[in-house]
Symmetry: C2
Subunit: 289 residues, 2 copies
């Protein structure tokens, strides 16, 4: 579920898509139209023996209840989405935070499959983490995993959240793009900045090094707090090539002393993590788990 | 269990002590003597119908298995302590990390009783946290909660762990004492520094302000990661009076933006948290939980 489009897939037990549906997000008085979401589910399910449905939502989402605390991009606040969509579709259905949905996939069938203590960190327009500790996801009413708003540069650039120097101000894709433009006067996407590293572009290297160091510092804090064995980097910045995972691993390991040094790896499912996670969530709903 | 003495108590279901025992720590070739620990348990239990035993150990302790990964002050490494003590005493017995044992008490019968998402942060010679998320303690093989080694002052004073500028270098009791001595040339315990705040001692105020800011920064990171509703401050520094809890609360809240602002309160059980937690752990052992 996104602010501009909604993607849905009908998948088998093997998580492979049988059919997909993508439609522009519809709104009523600024808020995303729940009836339209329910309609997409029922149309996609038409004629199939659907066991269960998983719905991934950005924002502050309490996975335990399927309640959306706040989803700024969707115009939702205090919305019992799971109850509403279950009622409208008549199907077993679960709602979960989008990053924790991707994490469910990476922790179940992806790069950290079967690992009891792991972090999934997709780096894109924003940065948030899914934490798995002792084999269970951390939810905390929807407030767990907001590592993008860890302050790594006190007094640094203003963040959308209102604080200064959050991880997102140095390492999110728009920040990499913005900081490169500030240095050079030239526009480039984060992927283009990554590509220019190989061309020996010193400005690209400086911006990238700041992003790597910021990720290393934030992940060192995560290691101190939740003790992961594996850290899975995903999203656009990790997909940009080998420039991210190795340097972040080296930076992080150099910061650690007595703590165990986690493996740092690239996401196995790439852009499919959300779909795979939603499918796993649908099976959880079907099983009444 | 400590490096200089071992304290034990026989307690009722109401957690009140019926009898106590305190003996100097005994060592064999540098490592704390397990037979002596077992002997203290059996002597204290003599004649009583003991349901279960809880043992609290400092260091890196995997509560899930009762395995001590490393306890530097006790000379233990890779020690299956729970198995050994269960065998020696013949009683249902559980081993847990000392801070998580205190946390169990504060989260069950103390200042955060019944709160699903909470942090217990005792501040003493060292600093470590017990995290409770979604109603469960975080263990991560014994590596969760090492907030004392979050870097809050990059390039700052050397920490015992080998890094620079860890929270402990600014806010642990020895750091407060050391930093006051460095400024003034006068020795003072952390409690004495706290007392001098009320006398208008500007050096005490400066050292204390640094400790408060370091705790605020580290707790803001904890809020971003694990989303607590209540933060319980304990240990010697919190017991020193009202100078810690209020200022840390104000500093923390000023750092937060969209995150929910947790209550920050003083521990309810004070120095008794470890004993109460070990007793609760003993009941868990008795119940086979």
């Amino acid at each position: 579920m996104g602010g501009t489009s909604v993607k849905a897939a009908l998948v088998g037990r093997d998580l492979a898509p049988v059919a997909t549906l993508r439609e522009p997000t519809r709104r009523v008085a600024g808020a995303v139209d729940i009836d339209h979401i329910a309609s997409m589910i029922t149309r996609l399910a038409d004629g199939a023996a659907v066991a269960g449905v998983g719905v991934a939502v950005p924002g502050v989402v309490d996975d335990t209840t399927g309640h959306v605390v706040t989803a700024v991009n969707l115009g939702w606040h205090n919305l019992p989405l799971q109850t509403a969509l279950s009622s409208l579709t008549g199907m077993p259905l679960k709602v979960r935070h989008d990053v924790r949905t991707g994490g469910l996939a990476e922790f179940t069938v992806g790069a950290a499959a079967g690992v009891a203590n792991a972090v999934f960190l997709p780096i894109g327009t924003g940065i948030a983490a899914a934490f798995q500790v002792d084999g269970r996801p951390l939810v905390a009413g929807g407030y767990a995993g907001e590592i993008g708003h860890l302050v790594v540069d006190p007094g640094g650039a203003p963040c959308n959240c209102g604080a200064l120097g959050c991880l997102e101000t140095l390492a999110a894709a728009p920040a990499v793009s913005r900081r490169y433009a500030e240095r050079t006067g030239r526009t480039a996407t984060a992927a283009e900045v990554a590509a220019r590293l190989e061309e020996g572009d010193a400005d690209a290297a400086a911006v990238w090094a700041d992003a790597v160091a910021a990720l290393g510092a934030a992940l060192a804090a995560a290691v101190a707090m939740v003790g992961p064995e594996v850290i899975v980097l995903g999203g656009g910045l990790a997909e940009a090539g080998d420039a991210l995972v190795g340097p972040v691993r080296d930076d992080l390991h150099a910061r650690l002393t007595f703590q165990r040094k986690p493996a740092v790896v690239r996401a196995a499912l790439g852009q499919d993590a959300g779909r795979a996670g939603a499918a796993l969530l649908g099976w959880e709903a079907a099983d009444g788990a």
